[in-house]
Symmetry: C2
Subunit: 415 residues, 2 copies
């Protein structure tokens, strides 16, 4: 007998072939039906969520985790609103990327097509379930979702409601599936089903991402791990640097685009820290610094381990660097190719930084926090890619399509 | 002590950082120096090749394999000529893909960048060594090559000559490396060096490709496996269909874009085979057919195994189908998403075929043999991708770059 992973991936592939052929109004009709279904089923969703919450409290998970897990009527309305926003986004399928005629008079048209079946492995936030499903649908793909076991009742209920929306729009409900058995062996199976699965996307912490990348034999996209730096150059506007550093660290420390390490040119270290430290103290940020930074009044010492750590919390490591070259070398060694920023008024230094840093997003005089699908103007995103293949940076709908070449001839053969 | 794989990949990454920053004239100067070095070192290369040839003869490899392994002065000149052609191709790095200003007045520029270090695992043809190295160089990437053990002396000599060209152009010779130890364990190590290797590309038979895809934890691109079909519709111009079928099967049967299975609509089976069979007999093609095809004078029976087989030889399986739908279903089940063709004069049928077939290249009234970088106008190619991620179909220089976002602000923070 086939496992749940094989069965759902196989049925998803069948559904994907239907979803690949439908037009934009049909997709949008399904999305509208899903939004409506979410709003109509608030009580059902809250009841399911309560089971997860009770189990979580018994297991004693953290307040932060509990908050991420919680559904409320307002959060469900926000989910439905998010789905309606995806209706407004342009359909990424069927776009002509380019077209030309060869010397031999073949007419070649490169046109975007869906990927097929996308496996999404994620952690406890139930809103990911809805986001992922509707982005896949809008791009003509089917998806097989595998959420964290702590959200299993919420996710099961959400996927049932989404499938109800698909049925209401006369589309195959197998286009959105959830692994209800949270046995880890099933995830591994899903990640090696090359026959059915076209892409795997992990969304979550470093452990989850590494598991997916190491296990998958289907193509996968590494997402989200972010050790981001802000480098304050000797030619920086120090007040601007304080605002950017504060924003990059404090505005939402749990995100992957938050700053983890601040690099400061030695020539401006003292005046800059004099401005910065009181601000970060007020924000309750714990600071760990090298010797020079400690000499400016920081109590905790940073070790090599700090340069390698994505805190995802109100902790900041600060390092003094003697030059732009030293800042670039540090970023090269410890960065995760996510988002890196320089604060400087020197155009030549800024251009060198833009040219030399190998990251998805390289900023001059702006906060790293802008690396995000909405901020870039892409609309909803399915993650932020930190690899170079296929897609880099915020992954909007265009990251979920491939293309094919359509070639029209008049009997041409190759000589 | 680090293994040869780790050492060469690590040094390649260091070289890649230099190669990523050099301009087009510098790259082209290096390519010209490589072409010159190849021509100057013909004797050295032939001597090395002779060692491989002698070992091969002792082991008794096939005539076809022996031919692929052989270097001659003319073949070396052709290699040098191929390198000079790459000089003429546009540099794919540093192109502005798009640029826009956000509502918050951030100026975002999406610009192409090299991938970094590319591992290329290939079989016995030594010309792949040169092709792969120069395409990687032109796209600003370093490469670590691993060829078949039967060509080890030829490949070692070729890479030495290429590195001599790099030195002559004052570029880091570690940008092109070859694993000289052909132990399989080193390949596996190379394919899991996520710290150093950005992409793996296998070039060769199905066994090699599957090994790479199953082993790699670095991103990889599946290439080349091609079970290509030609479907002759009931509304086909039968003479055109004969020409296309012959060309697709016979012009170069060992390539991945050659036809393996011919699908024929039942309504025109008899008149079509009457025209086709004498042609293929003259071409010495072995034909295996289903019952209806056998009734038209074909002696050998096709089994289900035939539909799954990439012969890469002068063998053709022929199947009768009752409809376009049946042809599409067969291609869906047995195709490898490479190249598929229909011969028809019915525009509606042609459009359905173009729309419904899920393959890199879908043809109307032309031979599948055109799926090739040169034929598409891309110039030299590094392989043909049969996966949907990153690149699909012929992989020219543009398949070897990624991009980054450069963002210019005036102190913006995220609210």
């Amino acid at each position: 007998m086939e496992s749940e992973a094989v069965q759902k991936a196989r049925l998803a592939q069948r559904a994907a072939r239907v979803l690949a052929q439908i037009d934009t109004p049909q997709k949008n009709k399904a999305l509208a039906a899903i939004a409506d279904a979410l709003e109509q089923q608030v009580d059902y969703l809250l009841t399911a969520n309560r089971k997860d919450m009770e189990a979580a409290k018994i297991r004693g998970i953290s307040e932060a985790m509990l908050d991420r897990l919680t559904l409320t009527p307002a959060r469900i309305r926000a989910m439905a609103e998010g789905v309606r926003q995806v209706v407004q986004l342009q359909d990424p399928v069927g776009k002509i990327v380019s077209s030309w005629e060869t010397d031999g008079h073949l007419k070649i048209t490169k046109v975007t097509v869906p990927l097929g079946v996308i496996a999404i492995i994620f952690e406890s936030r139930p809103n990911v379930t809805v986001d992922a499903a509707v982005l896949c649908l809008k791009s003509g793909n089917a998806c097989v979702l595998r959420g964290g076991s702590e959200a299993i009742h919420s996710n099961t209920a959400l996927v049932r409601v989404i499938r109800q929306g698909l049925r209401a729009a006369a589309l195959p409900e197998d286009g959105v599936a959830l692994l209800e058995n949270t046995d880890r062996a099933l995830v591994k199976e899903l990640l090696t089903l090359r026959k059915y699965v076209d892409l795997a996307i992990p969304r979550g912490g470093a452990g989850l991402i590494q598991m997916v990348v190491q296990t998958a034999t289907v193509p996968c996209i590494e997402t989200g791990s972010g050790i981001c730096h802000v480098y304050v150059d000797k030619a920086a506007d120090l007040d601007m640097a304080v605002r950017i550093a504060e924003n990059a660290k404090v505005s939402r420390p749990s995100t992957c685009n938050a700053m983890e390490t601040l690099l400061v040119h030695k020539d401006i270290l003292q005046p800059f820290l004099k401005k910065l430290l009181p601000v970060l103290q007020k924000d309750r940020v714990t600071i760990r610094g090298d010797r020079e930074v400690q000499a400016c009044g920081v109590m905790e010492a940073a070790t090599e381990q700090d340069w390698r750590t994505e805190y995802n919390a109100l902790i900041l490591s600060v390092k003094t660097v003697p030059s732009l070259e030293a800042a670039l070398a540090h970023i090269q060694q410890y960065g995760t190719h996510h988002s890196e920023a320089i604060v400087t008024t020197d155009k030549k230094t800024a251009d060198l930084f833009l040219q030399r840093v190998d990251a998805a997003a390289v900023y001059v005089n702006a906060s790293t926090r802008f690396t995000d699908g909405f901020e870039f103007g892409f609309g909803a995103e399915i993650g932020i890619s930190t690899q170079k293949l296929h897609v880099r940076g915020p992954m909007g709908l265009e990251a979920l399509v491939s293309y094919k070449y359509r070639i029209q001839g008049q009997g041409q053969i190759r000589l």
